[in-house]
Symmetry: C2
Subunit: 358 residues, 2 copies
């Protein structure tokens, strides 16, 4: 058996997994995204390669002159390997769509990964701001400040009738998406999650998995975001998400109490400790089983059941056990079976000997 | 000689689980049983209560005068609680059928649990001899010696045409059942067990679970025994079982090598270590999951994968986690949920901190 890999000491988690924000035990991260398009260019999907190159270069140059408070690192995606692009996806800095596209395109982000821009994605320009935990006002204020700087210096497509024009009609109007990523193992275990998701959908909020549209809700992580962008003010859209997330957090806390009380307590403890035992002993771990196991252990740490593990270690594992991060750690591409073995080895090395009851 | 029927309060394993015999890693125990009936009494199922009482008392008294090399402890089963009878079943000293019967009946066994007699079971008298591991000749010789003493001093029903007469026609003739209990996780994991069982059945051998007829093969334990008792000499029946078990042991060893070689090794290690991790961490453990987990860990210890666990500890757990033994340990009856919790606690306490790789 090769030596146990250890987590690189320089691994930064990025703002979305920092885990330091308000309600950070349940709310992983708040994200605000604006979709914008430039006058004088067709929408991104209609551009030819030369136009794409020109647009992307123009945006990179313009944004470089904005003098933003935090300097941005620009990444030309075509110069990266597929693996390097996947790492950016796993860090939520670019979308899967942008990573997979073949046209000239770019991205930019600051060192702390609180700001990320995508150039020539589905829309010409998408700006994102992240804040750890449940920080709707802070994230929205920062995103609006960034957006103000962008639209004041760029010829942005805006209609008096519809608002900001976007490639997909679902984003027309405000072009705003506010999303909060929540960790809701209690609702899942108590089989209340479907009801919770339905409730959100009734008030026009989307409930998605960890990697947005079409992704599965691995590890009991859910992103709650606004569906509507048109015909409402930005602040009322933000308020909708804030109210719903506040209710979901309260619901999750209440369910957790129930899961740890009375007759249900034994089954809940069993679930938490088995998950830790499996993570500490498995030699082969799929992404799905790993995330679900980490979810249960995270619940156990947060509820004070497991004394000698820190949520930060679990957040690190959450990111490092993703396929691209694993391969970057290894220094070379790995097939799925090799990844499952390395994932198990890594998880064991971090969790070895842990798990004293509180 | 007829002592108070007490259940041993120590945690001795009894011969069948001592684990010291030849091929003891795969062959748990060899057992030889003879079924005998007395002249002058109808078969047990036809006796009324008074006749049953008389027969049982007669047998207890006669056997007490035999002067056997190892003194026997006699147990009047109607004076025991249901739980105490279940303990004897779990130790293989009496059958489920004898434990559940309502008629006067008794049993006797020596301290080492190498000899066990049942009075007024399906047949008037059943004698059993146990030897640790794969010891067909030793077990058969000892059983024959015991049987010689019994039939020379008791009026046993014997027909020149059919041999020994028994309550059920399947035992007529020799009245012999030779069985070897095998631990065959390799064959089960490699999905060869069904084929192995079919092969045995073709040569008229029965393959049954840990507790004989009708019991499931929990924990990958299988009893292989002769089906035929009539028209064949005892030695040829014994030879059949010996040959088949020798082949099964060789098959199991070959399969284990394959499971631990090449591409299959990783999955096998994963299975062993996950089982240990689950046993070390679960807070609720059913009998079935416990036995299956112990089976995998036993495999790991025997194949030298797990260095700091002894097979004897696992054998103890195997017995102590059975429902009646658990309740005896607790000192009071427990419902199924309480047993599952106590079982998990017991297993954790024995396996805590164990599991260094070899």
């Amino acid at each position: 058996m090769s030596e146990l890999p250890t987590i690189p000491s320089d691994l930064s988690l990025g703002e979305w997994l920092r885990g330091t924000g308000p309600d950070g035990d349940l709310a992983i991260c708040t994200r605000v995204r604006f979709a914008r398009n430039l006058l004088g260019y067709r929408f991104a999907s209609l551009l030819d390669a030369e136009e794409s190159r020109e647009l992307s270069a123009y945006l990179v140059q313009q944004v470089g002159q904005l003098g933003l408070p935090e300097p941005l690192r620009v990444v030309e995606l075509s110069t990266l390997t597929e693996l390097e692009r996947e790492v950016l996806v796993e860090r939520h800095l670019i979308s899967r769509e942008l990573a997979a596209a073949e046209r000239p395109r770019a991205a930019a982000h600051d060192d702390a990964e609180r700001v990320a821009l995508m150039f020539n994605e589905e829309d010409h320009l998408r700006s994102q701001v992240f804040r750890s935990g449940f920080q709707v006002d802070e994230a929205y204020a920062a995103a609006e400040d960034l957006d103000d700087r962008l639209i004041s210096s760029l010829p942005v497509a805006f209609s008096e009738e519809f608002g900001f024009l976007t490639s997909c009609p679902t984003n027309v109007g405000t072009g705003l998406r506010l999303s909060v990523m929540l960790h809701l193992p209690g609702l899942v275990w108590a089989e209340d999650m479907e009801k919770a998701a339905n409730t959100c959908q009734k008030i026009h909020l989307a409930v998605r998995g960890m990697y947005g549209e079409g992704s599965r809700a691995l590890g009991d992580f859910y992103q709650v975001s606004n569906q509507v962008t048109l015909g409402r003010s930005e602040t009322s859209l933000v308020d909708d998400v804030r109210v719903a997330v506040t209710q979901l957090i309260a619901w999750e806390r209440k369910v957790r109490e129930a899961l740890l009380g009375g007759e249900r307590r034994a089954r809940t403890l069993d679930r938490v400790w088995r998950a830790l035992g499996t993570l500490q002993s498995a030699r082969i771990l799929s992404t799905e089983e790993c995330l679900n196991g980490l979810s249960a252990v995270r619940f156990g740490v947060q509820q004070g059941l497991i004394a000698d593990l820190r949520a930060a270690d679990l957040n690190r594992l959450l990111l490092l056990t993703q396929p691209a991060h694993l391969q970057r750690l290894h220094g070379a591409p790995l097939d799925a079976a090799e990844r499952d073995t390395l994932r198990a080895t890594l998880v064991r090395s971090v969790l070895a000997g842990r798990g004293q009851g509180a």
